[in-house]
């Protein structure tokens, strides 16, 4: 079977009916280049959704549109049924979202980047407390406590006062994970978070993600090239190529009985 549009009926049984996030007919064009060519996709509350596909297929762009770093050219993304990039003006017309609307919506979304993007002038702890105190207005002591606890959870209890320059790549990425997680968003985008790491540091970061994936509260969009990891952690896997979803299903369906030739060819490269 080689159909391009797959209705996303494959919701795992344990999650609720109403999706947390929906992409409806989403496209994205950079200049002349159409990078996302019409995506329909859902992520359910607490669901771990892996996104795999060749590089250049638009996976990062998909995540960045959810994080509000990139505006879709057309189509709609909703979170909890509310439009992300549009809002109603006073007269009830649908208009482009303003900064205030995006600010409110962003409370539900977090992101971990390929290149960490830690703040180099702040200690690990300050990297994690900054948004807690300044955005969520958590009192300083409580923020410190929550941040220290979260850094402990990612195995960095002894590195609270280190600056990023003194941390290894794996440690930096774990700080970045703690920084996103501590804000308790409903969904976190992980964009190839191990692909900038030295091979020997990949394991420790994947272990941390597996551990936090146990938590059924937070949904995760896991953009990854680590197939074993995706199989182990994901509830559902989406395979995309050339800006379209080619195939999606449970990890078993995707990895053990890929239907499309493109997916078969893609997976062949990892064997």
């Amino acid at each position: 079977m080689n159909s391009i549009y797959m209705p996303d009926q494959v919701a795992p049984a344990k999650v609720q009916e109403q999706p947390l996030i929906r992409y409806e007919g989403v496209t994205k064009t950079f200049g002349e280049l159409e990078v996302i060519k019409g995506i329909d996709m859902s992520i359910y509350g607490g669901e771990k959704l892996a996104i795999i596909g060749p590089s250049g297929s638009g996976k990062t762009t998909l995540g960045r549109m959810l994080m509000t770093l990139e505006e879709p050219t057309s189509g709609i993304i909703t979170i909890d049924g509310e439009k992300l990039w549009q809002m109603e003006d006073k007269r009830g017309r649908l208009v482009r979202a303003n900064e205030k609307h995006l600010h409110r919506m962003r409370e539900k979304i977090g992101m971990v980047f390929q290149h960490f993007n830690l703040f180099p002038h702040l200690t690990a702890l300050r990297n994690v407390t900054l948004a807690l105190t300044s955005v969520l207005k958590v009192p300083k002591d409580e923020a410190r406590e929550r941040a220290a606890e979260m850094l402990g959870k990612v195995g960095l209890a002894t590195k609270l006062d280190e600056y990023p320059s003194r941390l290894s790549g794996g440690q930096k990425q774990r700080v970045a994970i703690a920084r996103a997680l501590v804000l308790r968003p409903k969904v976190i985008v992980f964009d190839e978070v191990t692909s900038a790491l030295d091979p020997e540091l990949v394991g420790e970061v994947l272990e941390v993600i597996k551990e936090i994936a146990e938590d059924r509260e937070t949904a995760m969009m896991l953009i990854t090239h680590e197939m074993e990891f995706a199989r182990e952690v994901a509830d559902r896997v989406v395979f995309g190529a050339d800006g379209l979803i080619v195939e999606q299903g449970t990890p078993e369906e995707i990895f053990d009985c890929p239907r499309s030739e493109r997916l078969q060819a893609f997976l062949g490269r990892f064997r």
């Binding site: 600010h103 962003r106 992101m111 980047f113 290149h115 993007n117 703040f119 180099p120 948004a131 300044s134």
Partner: protein
């Protein structure tokens, strides 16, 4: 030729003009930094009108002489508006606005050099625009340009004689007054030149101290 007795008599008198001169330079510099930062921030505004307006003002100020601006602020502004300021305040504002336009370019390029990922991380953490500027962008963009800021501080100090044109009694004006009393020029101008050198050296020393302190704190 060189009369030491006259030097000892003269030096305290000239030194008395130094605090006001240095004060005008330091206040002008502080204002230049502050306004320079604001101009750099406005230059990145998403409102095109604000961006265009700041570019226009910066270009205008940079293409007219400081002296003309000082005359305008001191003599013309009070005629056009109810704003009348002391020579000192006018001098500080004149120096501050003039050099803000140069410093804003320095800040702008340092801000542009910040990796895009820093802005994106701030946005992903939902930091407000103000928080992003003051906790993420400026703390990283300012330390690398401390040496350039230091150069401008010295340039501003050396430009203080321009303030004599608006009746502000700074070091050079004081020196001229002395020469017109004693009819001697050699010692007064030599001493004043020396004072400019000494103060400039001290300022650059202070700046490099400050620079070292920031370097020790963190490097990415």
């Amino acid at each position: 030729m060189w009369d030491w007795d006259y030097v000892y008599e003269l030096l305290p008198k000239l030194l008395r003009a130094l605090p006001a001169t240095l004060g005008a330079a330091l206040c002008g510099f502080a204002l230049a930094v502050l306004v320079g930062i604001l101009i750099a921030i406005a230059g990145r505004s998403r409102f095109r009108l604000l961006r265009g307006l700041t570019t226009g003002i910066v270009d205008f100020i940079r293409s007219t002489p400081l002296l003309v601006q000082l005359f305008f602020l001191y003599y013309s502004l009070p005629m056009l508006t109810p704003l009348a300021m002391s020579a000192f305040a006018t001098g500080v504002i004149g120096l501050g606005l003039h050099y803000a336009c140069y410093l804003s370019e320095v800040f702008r390029s340092s801000i542009d050099a910040l990796p895009k990922g820093q802005w994106e991380a701030a946005s992903a953490l939902n930091l407000s625009k103000a928080r992003t500027w003051f906790s993420i962008v400026l703390p990283q963009a300012m330390p690398p340009v401390i040496p350039i800021m230091g150069n401008y501080l010295i340039v501003i100090f050396k430009e203080t004689p321009a303030l004599s044109a608006i009746t502000f009694v700074e070091l050079l004006m004081r020196t001229k007054n002395e020469t017109s009393i004693s009819f001697r020029a050699f010692e007064p101008y030599t001493i004043t030149g020396g004072l400019f050198i000494v103060v400039s050296l001290l300022l650059s020393l202070a700046v490099s101290r400050l620079e070292k302190r920031f370097k020790n704190r963190t490097t990415a």
